[in-house]
Symmetry: C2
Subunit: 257 residues, 2 copies
């Protein structure tokens, strides 16, 4: 099967313009078919602060009210997404910036209210695999930001890691998909504060052990859960690390066994 | 030839959410192929003010420095563009939000500095007619905001009226194109302050007269210059008015003779 690389960039990799350009140049050097997904929470929080809007959090997770949705739409779909598209075009990639609303790419529903209402936050229902495949076959390079829609006129804030794994799973019937999560840490770490303690390989059984003994905790668990879900749904490989898209990679390789 | 409607919405039509929804519902009722272009200067100015950034103007025209470019990218390509896309999707149109950088749709160059440097403002060089035609043939509804790119990684702020007429001219070889400019005034007016003084028809020779006697001045001249350029380049009809996309229209019809 033809190869497809799905690359998610997040953390502080996109806050710094020169760092972002370097990563995009590396991404652009990939000769395989490819998709980019980006976050941008830090820039959104910075704009919130500038506008005097205090971010509302519940157990560390952002509550997206109407005003916050406007801010993330401006920052994710506007500033970050279109800056990336313009850079990639200058490097020769035929980039197209997308939210899940564009071409009805990703449908979601507003997260069910239990004890807490997260507001305009979406959990994914369906990826429009046919439309995505059409773009792939036209050599378009889709650039997704962390927004989906419910088909009723609402944009919904949606985790970029989850979008990456959902896109990867949806295309795994047509391509041999490598899913690459790039973030500021050097990979999954034995010791959270020591970037030199990268764990080279994790499989499903070692993952359970590392969770049980507390080595892997908090923010990494949803990311890795997404990764293992993608592997179970047919994605060929998952890599979590700080650098290396077309070049040598440093980080953690995940596998089912 | 197959019909194509190119609709530009601007002015205060997009500031009010309910007014915007009504216009988009009307646009959605069009059964012809169609393209939407939107402005958003007022919302961009409002965000500037909120952020404490004083808009820089020269003879009434905005100077787009780096910070202003970021603001218009957030407002035009982010908030307004994606809100429109989500609404149109909910009305059954397969909308796709675009800047000129996406799919390399519209190339421009930074405006030549003479006595004044307008900053990140682009004058259009070329529309990617082939990519646009592909979207038309796939029944996609493109939604363009007022940004283009120079192919070197820079987004450039570009007049939405000019984008509309450039797209119209580029597609006039393939479609019978109706170009529709909607804005807050009821059309081209005999008396600027009297919305009931709409001029029903203007051709190239009456246009020259109306400019000479001062009836048409200031802000309307670039808009109408764009319109007549489009007519000369093969666009079938141009309409300037306050309302009526799929329904009865009220406003001014422009023609060459």
């Amino acid at each position: 099967m033809e190869k497809l690389k799905i690359v998610k960039i997040g953390g502080n990799l996109i806050d710094d313009d020169q760092k972002l350009k370097d990563i995009l140049q590396d991404f652009s050097n990939l000769n395989d078919k490819k998709i980019l997904i980006h976050g941008g929470g830090k820039l959104a929080s910075a704009l919130s602060t500038q506008l005097g809007i205090v971010p509302k959090l519940h157990e560390g997770r952002r509550i997206t009210d109407k005003e916050s949705l406007k801010i993330v739409t401006m920052v994710y779909a506007g500033f970050i997404n279109k800056s990336i598209v313009a850079y990639l075009q200058s490097f020769g990639d035929n980039a197209l910036g997308l939210t899940g609303a564009d071409l009805d790419m990703i449908r979601s529903h507003r997260r069910i209210v239990t004890n807490i209402d997260y507001g305009f936050v979406g959990d994914i229902d369906e990826v429009n695999g046919e439309a995505l495949l059409n773009l792939m076959n036209s050599n378009v390079v889709p650039v997704f930001c962390a927004l989906t829609h419910n088909g009723k006129g609402d944009l919904l804030n949606t985790n970029a890691d989850t979008i990456a794994s959902a896109l990867a799973a949806s295309l795994s019937a047509h391509f041999s998909v490598d899913l690459i999560y790039l973030f500021e840490k050097g990979g999954v770490l034995h010791k959270p504060d020591d970037d030199n303690s990268v764990i080279d390989n994790i499989n499903l059984s070692t993952y359970e052990k590392l969770k049980k003994d507390g080595t892997i905790s908090s923010g990494m668990i949803p990311k890795l859960d997404n990764a293992f879900t993608a592997l179970k749904e047919g994605v060929s490989s998952v890599f979590v690390g700080a650098s290396g898209i077309s070049k040598e990679r440093k980080g953690t390789i995940l596998s089912l066994d």
